[in-house]
Symmetry: C2
Subunit: 357 residues, 2 copies
DNA sequence: GTGAAAGCGCTAACAA
DNA sequence: TTGTTAGCGCTTTCAC
């Protein structure tokens, strides 16, 4: 098309109306006569108008406020990483007058989430990024967003029924398959592998089952009787009971590897194995949390799958900001690659963590 | 500090001067009396002034033009991916009146690079992103940038002596180590591993030696006589000769794996192994190029290390734009994580390739 | 319904 | 050496 920058003023002149009218047509605000509407639309079709977003934001009063809702980062290292992403996004967008607030709830306390939700109902932000841990309780929350036209993006855990603007996370089924493949790689012989779910019992558990299924399917497809899997749930047990269950598990001489479905579980079992001096058991777990990094460096953990919580959060805010500020639609779902961390590439990931935009 | 937005006008009033003078102090342009300078600086110290970048870009005439200089993407799949990153950056910044051009040279033709350089000398862009393939010949080019105050960022290949604004790439030595670790993982027994350099002979070869060293060091540190490595250079040979060398290599019964130091080499050797029906040889190579993806899907390639050329280019432009437009300093070096691709996580990487910002 | 005009905060040209 | 002012392109108010 024409390469020259077209302004609203140009359109107005071409259509023989005023800039005010063109603006009314462009944003369908205010009344416009059919005649004027027609003229403006015609010229609009002939040329390629792209609004100057810089000018728009400078002129328009509205300063956007985004809110990120996630579990309290001070209580959990995984969510602490997510929060780093939020903080980075905060400074990233401050230059554009886009404010990013955060609201934390207790991962194990439904009421704390409801409080946060109430806060939102009152303050009415322009966009929401949320890690929807409590399945049932977040559904009405999403209804609220929908009716009030507040765009919301999910991260970490997907709830497709909520029909968010976008979801950012990983394919958990494939994640389980990758874990199985890695296990298979380092334990090619006959073996039993354990899958351990160690999180507190909440709706999130549903999602962990997808990882479990992926892990099992991988070995089922091998159609090899040499491989068997066993699933263990360590939810809502005392520490003593947990350790007892682990001891029983380890007494099985066929056991060659353990797959942990959560990042916190990963470090717990790694510590346990270290205490028991069981270097023969291969460990595949999740995420570059402080403890996990140490366990990987000293060889207790063989592989970590990185969920990249920080980047998930960063992109979540970026998507919201682009949507509101540049009216640029985010992808419906962004499934992050399943990053494999080993002893040798660990360092490269740690270094990149502090840098990458 | 104070939370209210402070404008230049406010500073002017506080200091008892005009906005013109404040502007002159802020940008040290034009003459200012010592007295005025002092007054402005004093108030500047007391308050926390952050310029409104939106207003600045709207008002200021200067439209930035960035140029990305890289090997012709139509001749090489790896550089085609880099170019995708450039194109993405182009649309990303078009909303801010930052123009991104690209200039291609022939990877194997020094003259073509000189032509591109000449073009740059004439058009004088505001920032340069470059993949410096020809070592010696690019040094004077960087001199030119320095004397003309054109910020430049290197990607893919580092030349620290050039003192770029930033370097974006990978740690090649660590990359070799990761390759060795992966080889070791799938071939734990006694073995000989080959390292093959297959690129045309140019300065780039120096960098490939770092990968080689990393690979060798990994096994040397094992202090295990079961492992030995052999290096092969397939540079400037006819196809017949290359195949001949490969045949000789494969006739060694000890040979259990091959490490390819470049992405193009990876697909060539994979094809060769397929023709020879040598499924027993493990292959570790580079990058998610079309052919490599196919070879990995059918099992010929065991591991790929992803250099993420697309993201390297995208970030390169982003760093330049942030530097110029938001005066935000990029990191001196951004070493990407060494991403390990396997059969199981390949799909997740392919899907993410088209989406991730 | 419509057009004119006053900003948004900053830059840059101009006059004093 | 300084202050004033006219934009940048868009939004929004306010008369008509």
């Amino acid at each position: 098309m024409s390469n020259k920058k077209i302004r609203i003023k140009d359109i107005a002149e071409l259509a023989g109306v005023s800039v005010g009218t063109v603006d009314r047509v462009l944003h369908s605000r205010g009344k416009v006569s059919d005649e004027a509407l027609q003229k403006v639309q015609e010229t609009l079709e002939q040329i390629n108008y792209k609004p100057n977003l810089i000018a728009r934001t400078l002129s328009s009063r509205n300063k956007y406020r985004l809110v990120a809702i996630l579990p309290d980062p001070s209580l959990d290292d995984y969510w602490a990483q997510s929060n780093l992403g939020i903080e980075q996004a905060e400074t990233e967008w401050s230059a554009f007058d886009i404010q990013v607030d955060s609201a934390f709830f207790d991962l194990y306390n439904l009421d704390s989430f409801k409080q946060v939700a109430n806060e939102i109902y009152k303050t009415m932000p322009d966009g929401i990024l949320i890690a929807p841990i409590f399945y049932k309780e977040t559904l009405p929350f999403f209804e609220f967003c929908k009716t009030n036209n507040i765009p919301f993006i999910l991260f970490n855990t997907n709830i497709p029924e909520a029909k968010p603007l976008s979801f950012i996370g990983q394919n958990l089924y494939e994640s389980g398959r990758v874990a199985a493949e890695l296990m298979h790689l380092v334990q090619p012989g006959p073996a039993t592998f354990a899958i351990i779910h160690s999180k507190e019992d909440n709706d999130n558990a549903v999602h962990l089952l997808q990882k479990e299924k992926g892990f099992k399917d991988y070995f089922l497809e091998k159609k090899d009787k040499d491989y068997s899997t066993v699933t263990i749930k360590l939810t809502s047990l005392t520490k003593a009971k947990i350790d007892n269950r682990l001891e029983i598990l380890l007494s099985n001489p066929q056991l060659k590897g353990i797959f942990l479905s959560t990042s916190s579980g990963t470090s717990y079992v790694a510590s346990f194995l270290e205490r028991q001096k069981r270097k023969d058991i291969k460990l595949v777990g999740y995420d570059l949390l402080k403890e996990n990094i140490l366990h990987m460096q000293n060889g207790t953990i063989d592989f970590l799958i990185n969920q990249n919580p920080r980047r998930q959060a960063l992109l979540g805010i970026r998507y919201l900001a682009n949507h509101l500020f540049l009216q640029k639609a985010p992808p419906a779902t962004n499934l992050f690659p399943l990053e494999i961390i080993t002893q040798q590439n660990l360092k490269s990931y740690l270094e990149a963590m502090n840098i990458n935009f």
